[in-house]
């Protein structure tokens, strides 16, 4: 009897994560690890046991476990404990293996996959007839701009390679319009959100001013305070699993533009609506947005419809991969 009881308890505990997903799915499941795609699989678990498509059964079970309220609860508790330790110890207390690390006081920074200097000898995009319209906006990493928010060891061994690659890129392409955000983000202030790897309102407006200087050279733009806004801190919420509530100064650029030029922006998440409000940008430009993709054609006929084509990218991904899409 005792033996059967032990066996039953063990089986119950082992299967609880799956049954929790079937009968008590979480409303908003955390997704800091890759989520599983079931490709529209509607069959029940028991039907899949005898399915000839063996991957679907595994996916189904993993989806149940990932979406279970039990997993959500455990992740929530672990994240609260590790975050509560963060301001007590001068070290990253993160428990999960994510794409970010924590610096001083829990400031969040993106992990880089490499620290390699990319020296590019051949010029970029010279085979394009639209080369004069191209503007490159390479965004530095948060740790390169706000290194004082890193812990001592993190700061001491900070990767300098991306900045060096940027300098080399500028030097080897003297005829390209390249916005130097390393220079624009050089004063001792916050350019990035606390719990995010993206720019804050000041960082965004500082970058925008640099763009405006090229597109409307006759104007004299100024950044002015304009109240407060709630920081997105989306990366922290997704990977740290805690919602931060931080008010940050909001900024505006004056003057606004009446006769707007047309822009096409190839961008990453920095120009998502949350970080670069599209409605606000309409005060200065008529913009079409496109995500970076491997099939980028620098002689695209569409380009003639725009005054400028902006290539915005985070510096690490630009030199690790995106440069190859536009390299001769």
């Amino acid at each position: 009897m005792k033996e059967k009881l032990f066996l039953t308890i063990t089986i119950f505990i082992l299967s609880s994560a799956m049954f929790s997903g079937i009968y008590f799915p979480a409303k908003n499941s955390y997704s800091y690890v890759n989520s599983i795609e079931t490709l529209g699989e509607e069959r029940k678990l028991i039907e899949l046991v005898f399915s000839t498509n063996r991957k679907e059964l595994k996916n189904k079970i993993e989806t149940y476990v990932f979406e279970s309220s039990l997993r959500n609860q455990v992740l929530g508790v672990v994240s609260i404990i590790s975050w509560s330790l963060q301001d007590k110890i001068s070290i990253d207390t993160q428990f999960f293996n994510t794409e970010v690390f924590f610096g001083r006081d829990g400031n969040l920074f993106p992990k880089t996959k490499s620290c390699n200097v990319y020296i590019l000898n051949s010029e970029v995009g010279y085979n394009s007839e639209y080369i004069d319209k191209f503007i490159f906006m390479i965004v530095p990493l948060k740790q390169e701009v706000e290194s004082s928010k890193l812990e001592i060891i993190q700061n001491h061994y900070l990767c300098k390679a991306f900045h060096e690659s940027f300098v080399s890129f500028q030097k080897n392409n003297p005829n390209l319009k390249i916005i130097d955000l390393y220079d624009a983000f050089s004063s001792d202030t916050n350019y990035f959100e606390f719990g995010d790897t993206h720019w804050n309102s000041f960082g965004f407006n500082s970058a925008l001013v640099e763009l405006l200087k090229i597109t409307y050279p006759e104007e004299n733009f100024k950044i002015l305070p304009d109240g407060e806004y709630k920081e997105n801190n989306k990366v922290f919420e997704r990977l740290g699993l805690i919602k931060l509530n931080i008010d940050s100064p909001k900024y505006i650029i004056l003057p606004k533009i009446n006769k707007k030029i047309r822009l096409l922006i190839f961008h990453d998440s920095f120009f998502d609506n949350s970080y670069s409000p599209h409605a606000y940008l309409e005060d200065y430009f008529l913009i079409d947005y496109k995500r970076w993709n491997k099939n980028l054609n620098l002689n695209n006929e569409e380009f003639k419809n725009y005054d400028f084509i902006v290539f915005q990218s985070s510096v690490d991904i630009f030199f690790e991969s995106r440069i190859l899409y536009i390299k001769d």
Binding site: K2, L7, A17, R54, I61, L75
Partner: protein
């Protein structure tokens, strides 16, 4: 299906455990375990299950009819292994493209179950009883040890399959080993893997300094131990849940005081296989000294080849052969007989094992004397992973080098303690993403 995958732990395992309610007679237990194991293998490897059917067929026909001489029989058994693991050498030599079915498929655990089939046929205890073909199939495919060992002998299997009662002590120990294995894998090995994968996943030239090289070697040395021994703990634990006492594969190898001692403690079942089927048949140490050294080198050359037909693995095997020869020539008790020196040399010998080329091996080892970090482009990436969890794991690794009696052993038979351990390990699994075991690729 990985033994640490959610689909295995939370679905396949609990449903398989239902067998324990049934008190099945031997014949039905064989059929049920064989079918479950085949299903387990098919879920990840599909039609490659035919390799196991092929091995079963060959072994069965040889036992019953004795059709082939021993050499031809072994060649037949090794044929799938050659096709999937070594044929690329020939394709590369002849400059022919590797066929897609070989290139895209590798039957997980192929090296392990091939060796188990060989060991089974030549096991002197085999003749004490006669297994029918399905029973041989069940023996070869038994799911806890199918993917990465330990290599099991037939008497272990026979004892397990005959036990048609539910043994509470076995079950308790099984939960204990399973939970500890999961904690070792997810908490320790996978944390160390974050550092090693920076190097292993890189596609650019990395330069090191003492600090980065030291941390990389340290992390890999402990990762491979905790990763593989965790897998064995899980396999042994699951085996116990079904009444099978699978052999131990590790006995705190980094406490070895010589290379000879190390190989008595590391991957014990594989070491025994090579000792019994290569070293001893060659004459072992009952020959002249020179012949004995040659036997040793041949054995380690084949051990290296078993891991993979690359220069790096061969270099790793030769280093071990070299140190063992030194020990024999100079008398290891005088020459080494020191845990720390042995550990450092073993750790250094892992460099050719994990590095991506011989050039990288030289770069990593030579960087141990470069104290300037200016040109080190590995350290800035590595620093991002030095968090509290890593430092805790680092300390655990250091403590594991100290010889002490495990304080938790006294709770091993307490069901409530083991249940708590199981719950903790499940929580750790739920908060982790799965990195495949290192030894699956062999």
């Amino acid at each position: 299906m990985l033994l640490t995958s959610t689909s295995f732990l939370f679905f396949f395992l609990p449903f398989s455990l239902l067998i324990n309610y049934l008190n099945l007679p031997k014949k039905r237990k064989v059929i049920l375990l064989g079918s479950l194991s085949a299903y387990f293998y098919i879920l990840d490897n599909g039609y490659l299950i035919l390799i196991l059917v092929f091995l079963t067929f060959i072994v069965n026909i040889q036992i019953k009819k004795n059709y082939f001489n021993n050499v031809f029989f072994i060649i037949l058994l090794l044929f799938p292994l050659f096709i999937f693991k070594y044929s690329f050498l020939f394709y590369n030599f002849l400059n022919i493209e590797i066929p897609i079915f070989i290139h895209a498929n590798f039957p997980i655990g192929l090296s392990f179950f091939t060796f188990q089939a060989i060991a089974y046929y030549f096991d002197v205890k085999r003749k004490e009883n006669v297994e029918d073909s399905f029973e041989i199939f069940t023996f070869l495919t038994f799911f806890p040890q199918l993917l990465a060992g330990p290599i099991v002998d037939i008497s272990t299997y026979r004892k397990g399959i005959r036990s048609n009662y539910f043994d509470i002590n076995n079950f308790n120990n099984g939960i204990n080993r399973l939970s500890l294995g999961l904690i070792k894998k997810f908490l320790i090995a996978d944390t160390l893997a974050q550092i090693t994968s920076i190097y292993l996943d890189s596609n650019y030239e990395i330069s090191f300094s003492f600090l980065s090289s030291f941390l990389l070697i340290f992390c890999y040395t402990f990762q491979i131990y905790f990763d593989f021994s965790a897998y064995c703990d899980i396999a042994i634990g699951i085996g116990l849940l079904f009444g099978f006492r699978l052999p131990e594969n590790f006995n705190r190898p980094y406490l070895a005081f010589s290379f000879q001692d190390f190989w008595r403690r590391w991957h014990i079942t594989l070491s025994n296989f090579f000792k019994n089927f290569v070293y001893i048949p060659l004459g072992g140490n009952r020959t002249s000294k020179l012949k004995n050294y040659i036997n040793l080198w041949i054995t380690f050359f084949l051990t290296a080849l078993w891991h993979g037909a690359t220069l790096n693995f061969i270099l790793w095997g030769l280093i071990h052969g070299l140190f063992l020869t030194f020990e024999k020539i100079l008398g290891y008790k005088k020459f080494f007989s020191n845990r720390l020196i042995t550990f450092i040399l073993v750790a250094l010998s892992w460099v050719p094992f994990f590095s991506k080329s011989v050039t990288d091996t030289v770069e990593i080892i030579s960087s141990l004397v470069v104290f300037e970090t200016v040109n080190d482009n590995f350290l800035p990436v590595l620093v991002q992973y030095l968090n509290l969890k890593f430092f805790v794991v680092f300390i655990i690794c250091i403590i594991s080098l100290i010889k002490f009696r495990n304080p938790f052993n006294q709770f091993k038979n307490n069901f409530l303690t083991n249940l708590s351990l199981l719950i903790i390990s499940i929580f750790i699994v739920l908060t982790s993403s799965v990195d495949p075991f290192i030894y699956f690729k062999f």
